[in-house]
């Protein structure tokens, strides 16, 4: 399920719940001394933070455990991450020598065969720089946990191995670091499969862990195993299943799936490690809150999400989750039901928004009432029953794959209708998602830096321009992708005599260059290459009446000078 543009798709009930939370936090004592519950203007940033976590980190958002990219300063102590460079080499050698020395101890204490498949993963990664996108990425890294689930196949979190430049797996009691690589990675559900570059004997006799199918029941005991806070010894913590609910998956910043909250200690370095019930894996530890927000709340990715991932990659590639791409609203008001001509049976949710390019486009429209999904009646709070369990209606979609069919029963003009849709995922939902394995795109010209809109770029440049923020927040819901599929922002101006009068115009969306509408970054290079009338390049920014004029000849000369002065290797990088 995807969260986008101020709406939580497929899950309006959650919208209410979230805004309720915001209300409480933002209600202030007004000057007159009266407390207003929800009549003060809501705090826009609270919503924006969900969309743009890099812009300002939300303290309520679960932070990732284990290494985490694109965040040079680790918030709290919640990630296990070491700075690069020489100190890393020292750390590694220290680790190796220590484990060699104590190998015999571990053999005699016998950890038990079931823990043998649990490994420490060390990742060296590259952190890209959206502020100076021409710079090579900054090396960094961290450690997490993973576990063997098949022959030469290790499961871990996507955030443990994202943007990896080098991956090493370590087995308990074995001094040898084994080189590994990512086989499949799913950023939308924070899972990855690794394999050793060369299968080794050491793992031949190790029994893989079994991933179960069942979601553990509330209040049942689970064990979390991993390598938190560094160290090469396995750590075990124990707790109970506290809650089963949908949660934001903070790795991508835009996805929501089922997650299980447990009260066993989960700490940095635990990420990617198995959560066991008996001898069976019931989840993968992946995120938690910092202690200042909530105590004893860790989250694990439950088996349905893991099994879906494993099934998705069976064909050799990962195709991402699919989505209904609609927003719905609970039908709890009797007058609403009466006006829509619905019987008083507490069934049905109002379709409030339909994504024009989503799975339901052309089938559902705003004002329809969804009654059933694949035969499951939808209650007026958006819940359905599957196998005796009350779950969100999105759960039906969560279990399906791209291209799968889904039956809908809905209410329109006081009549019941049926339709079958084909599920798909939508590209424009990914605009606000955090990108991985991605080199920032850019074009520089005469000191002007153009970048496509995205989470990384918005955060790095701290954009305050209202129109630019509007495009970012309402890109999907206001169908802005139809006008500008890839909005291009003038993010920065590298000072030079040619641009000395225009530096205040950064942070705005580029609308037109030399009369060409800019719909994506590629258009910028093409439009700049044109021979403009009178030798003067004209750049128009969206909503800004003052055009930017650049003398083409002077700009060409300035281009070389600026690239050299600011050490910009390539004038542009477009993927």
């Amino acid at each position: 399920m995807r969260v986008f543009a101020g709406l939580k798709l497929d899950k309006a009930g959650k919208v209410g719940a979230l805004s309720g939370k915001r209300r409480r936090t933002s209600s202030r004592r007004s000057r007159g001394g009266s407390i207003s519950l929800n009549l003060q203007p809501e705090n826009a940033t609270a919503r924006e933070m969900r969309l743009c976590q890099k812009l300002r980190r939300c303290s309520i958002r679960p932070s990732l455990i284990g290494p985490r990219r694109n965040n040079p300063i680790p918030p709290q102590s919640f990630m296990k991450k070491h700075p690069l460079s020489l100190s890393l080499a020292v750390l590694i050698s220290l680790t190796v020598s220590l484990s060699a020395q104590e190998q015999t101890d571990e053999a005699t204490t016998s950890l038990g065969a079931q823990y043998e498949g649990i490994v420490n993963i060390e990742c060296n990664s590259l952190e890209v720089d959206y502020q100076a996108p021409w710079n090579p990425a900054t090396p960094g890294g961290g450690t997490g946990t993973g576990f063997l689930i098949g022959p030469n196949l290790f499961l871990t979190n996507a955030h443990v191995v994202s943007d990896a430049s080098r991956l090493v797996i370590r087995k308990v009691g074995d001094p040898q670091p084994y080189r590994a690589k990512v086989k499949h990675i799913a950023h939308d559900c924070d899972l990855a499969l690794l394999e050793l570059t060369q299968p080794v004997k050491a793992f031949e006799k190790v029994k893989p862990l079994q991933v179960g199918d069942a979601v553990p029941k509330l209040d049942t005991t689970v064990k979390v195993i991993g390598f938190p806070i560094g160290g090469e010894r396995i750590t075990v913590t124990r707790g109970v299943v506290s809650r089963v609910d949908y949660q934001d998956y903070s790795h991508s910043g835009v996805d929501q799936h089922l997650a299980i909250q447990i009260d066993a200690a989960i700490n940095p370095g635990n990420s990617g490690g198995p959560v066991l019930q008996g001898n069976s894996v019931v989840g993968v530890a992946f995120q938690g809150y910092s202690g200042s927000v909530a105590q004893n709340t860790g989250y694990m990715i439950p088996t349905p999400v893991i099994q879906r991932f494993l099934k998705d990659v069976e064909d050799g590639s990962y195709d991402r989750y699919v989505d209904l791409s609609i927003a719905h609203f609970e039908l709890l008001n009797p007058a609403q039901r009466k006006a829509l001509g619905l019987p008083d049976d507490s069934i049905g949710v109002l379709v409030a928004n339909v994504d024009a390019e989503g799975s339901c486009a052309g089938v559902l429209k705003h004002g329809d009432v969804m009654l059933a999904i694949d035969g499951h009646a939808i209650k007026s709070n958006g819940m359905i029953e599957i196998e005796g369990e009350e779950v969100e209606m999105a759960e039906v979609v969560e279990r399906k794959f791209s291209g799968d069919k889904l039956k809908l029963r809905f209410w329109r003009d006081k009549q019941q209708q049926e339709a079958e849709i084909t599920l798909k995922n939508v590209e424009h939902h990914l605009m606000t998602a955090t990108k991985y394995e991605y080199r920032p795109n850019y074009v520089t010209f005469a000191g002007l830096v153009f970048q496509p809109m995205g989470a990384g770029m918005m955060g790095a440049h701290n954009i305050t321009n209202l129109r630019t923020r509007y495009f970012y927040q309402y890109f999907a819901s206001d169908e802005l992708y139809k006008v500008k599929p890839q909005p291009v922002v003038l993010t920065n101006i590298m000072p030079d005599s040619i641009n000395t009068h225009i530096r205040e115009y950064t942070g705005q969306i580029v609308d037109e260059i030399n009369g060409v509408k800019i719909k994506k970054l590629k258009d910028v290079t093409e439009a700049l290459a044109k021979d403009p009338e009178g030798g003067c390049i004209t750049i128009r920014l969206l909503g800004e009446g003052r055009p930017i004029a650049l003398d083409k000849k002077e700009a060409a000369a300035a281009q070389q000078r600026i690239l050299k002065k600011y050490l910009i290797g390539e004038p542009a990088f477009i993927e």
Binding site: S19, S30, L37, L39, P41, A335, L350, Y470, P547
Partner: protein, 495 residues
């Protein structure tokens, strides 16, 4: 931020200069200045049926002819009770605000009833409209015990700066010299050769610079007050950009000309647009003065000054002649200067002395959007307030073109039986009610008079876009639930 309100900043200023009172029969602090005690009570923009807690402030007013006392609008804002006080004797007189202009930051106060001998022996001030740079100024205050205090400063320069409302820049005089703080003062009268030469509104203690509302503005205000109806200052309604950039000048084909500023947008319905000015026009001359590429002209008396002064100091209904450059040709435009009061804007830029318009239906609270509502977000309201509402304020033109007069929105919900299921809704712009477009709060009230089959149909521009409320149930909540549970008896303010 070095410039702070005088009240605070001056407390830190070192005492510098004392001069004793003026001649026995002429104007002097004790004979021409009064204390003004004002109790202000602003409306609560979150809970529009009530006011905030009252607060009392003390300021100084300059006595003018006909028992008028001049103060700043900032002091007189949202006044619910006020007294004039003779500093030496402590004698008080109940008074009222006669006229107030929040853009000019000026107000006049007059007695409520016949003052009797209250003003006996007092000497009213005249306004000095012939003030020149370097003029020596005297700034008047009272000690806590009523004894007069004077400080001196020298008029140094003129500029355009905001007075009280942050979006309005008008002519300001700056004076150099230390001003020491005395208890109970808010804004201070400034005197030159026994005549009123301005009102001090800000003082920067670090640089010892005072910002003073100039006498020309005071004179204009007083004359306007005396001749009803009150006109105020006109609004131009255009955004401009400098043309210093030689590359821009070539693009605009003004590289062979001198100076000029570029019009980057015009607001529909305002003076600039109605007089035919357009985006991309370059203003070269205003009222016979050449405009440089920063947008300044050289004033014969005041030196280099923004052309905004020429435009805003024109009388309402008057003509400002402009020479502009359009599509490579010179064009003369007569701009008829009209006033657009705050209520003419889609989103009122300010609102004092009255509460916002609102309507309660069941527990749904609808309001007309105002800037004070957005400012509830605190100092960072431009970042923090509800995005859709902020964006609407920034792009009022789009809504005005749609025919909206005001932006009606659902500001929040008081949970009540008739609106069950809608408790989480807030900050939603209303488009239609019962199939009738809603362009202001009166439209909304009218639309609610005609429910469809006993149900109100309410449409918003955003999620969930459509809700329904039972008309009879909402009416019952209005009559019983809201008064009983929330103690709200005033369910609407449409005027």
């Amino acid at each position: 931020m070095f410039v702070t309100r005088f009240l605070i900043a001056a407390a830190l200023a070192a005492a510098f200069c004392f001069t004793s009172t003026a001649a026995a029969h002429g104007p002097s602090p004790e004979k021409s200045m009064l204390r003004v005690n004002i109790t202000s009570q602003a409306w609560n923009f979150a809970l529009p049926w009530q006011k905030m807690n009252p607060s009392t402030r003390r300021g100084l007013g300059a006595l003018l002819s006909e028992n008028r006392v001049l103060v700043t609008a900032e002091l007189a804002q949202d006044a619910s009770y006020l007294e004039l006080e003779i500093a030496s004797s402590g004698r008080k007189l109940v008074s009222r605000v006669e006229a107030v202009d929040y853009e000019l930051n000026l107000a006049t106060i007059v007695p409520v009833e016949d003052p009797g001998d209250f003003f006996a022996g007092m000497v009213p001030l005249e306004v000095d409209t012939s003030l020149k740079p370097k003029a020596p100024l005297t700034i008047w205050q009272f000690e806590a015990n009523g004894a007069p205090v004077s400080s001196t400063a020298e008029l140094s320069r003129a500029d355009l700066a905001p007075y009280f409302l942050e979006d309005t820049s008008l002519l300001i005089f700056q004076a150099n010299g230390a001003v020491q703080y005395r208890a109970g003062t808010f804004t201070l009268p400034v005197v030159h050769e026994g005549k009123l030469a301005g009102m001090l509104i800000r003082y920067n203690s670090r640089d010892q610079v005072s910002d003073i509302i100039p006498p020309s503005i005071i004179d204009r205000f007083l004359k306007d007050v005396e001749t009803a109806p009150y006109d105020g200052v006109p609004n131009f309604g255009a955004k401009t950009a400098q043309t210093l950039d030689p590359q821009l000048r070539r693009l605009l084909k003004i590289d062979s000309l001198e100076g000029g500023i570029l019009i980057t947008s015009v607001t529909p319905g305002f003076s600039a647009e109605k007089s035919g000015l357009k985006e991309n026009d370059v203003i070269l001359e205003v009222a016979g003065h050449k405009i440089d590429s920063r947008g300044n002209y050289t004033d014969p008396d005041l030196g280099l000054l923004s052309a905004g002064h020429l435009i805003r100091s024109a009388p309402v209904g008057g003509i400002v002649k402009m020479k502009i450059h359009r599509d490579g040709k010179p064009v003369d435009v007569d701009v008829k200067m009209e006033r657009r009061p705050a209520s003419d804007y889609l989103v009122d830029p300010y609102m004092f002395d009255r509460g916002p318009r609102y309507l309660l239906l069941g527990g749904l609270l609808f309001q007309e959007l105002t800037q004070p509502y957005l400012q509830l977000g605190g100092r960072e309201w431009r970042e923090r307030s509800p995005f859709r509402l902020l964006f609407a304020r920034e792009n009022q033109e789009d809504f005005l073109r749609e025919g909206r007069r005001k932006l009606v929105f659902l500001s929040g919900v008081l949970p009540s039986p008739s609106i069950q299921g809608y408790e989480s809704l807030r900050s939603l712009i209303v488009t239609k009610v019962n199939d009738v477009p809603v362009n202001d709060i009166k439209d909304l009230a009218g639309a609610f008079a005609a429910p469809i089959n006993g149900v109100h149909k309410i449409e918003f521009s955003d999620f969930p876009k459509l809700i329904h409320v039972d008309a009879a149930a909402a009416e019952q909540d209005n009559k019983e639930f809201l008064p009983a549970r929330y103690r709200i008896n005033k369910l609407q303010r449409l005027e």
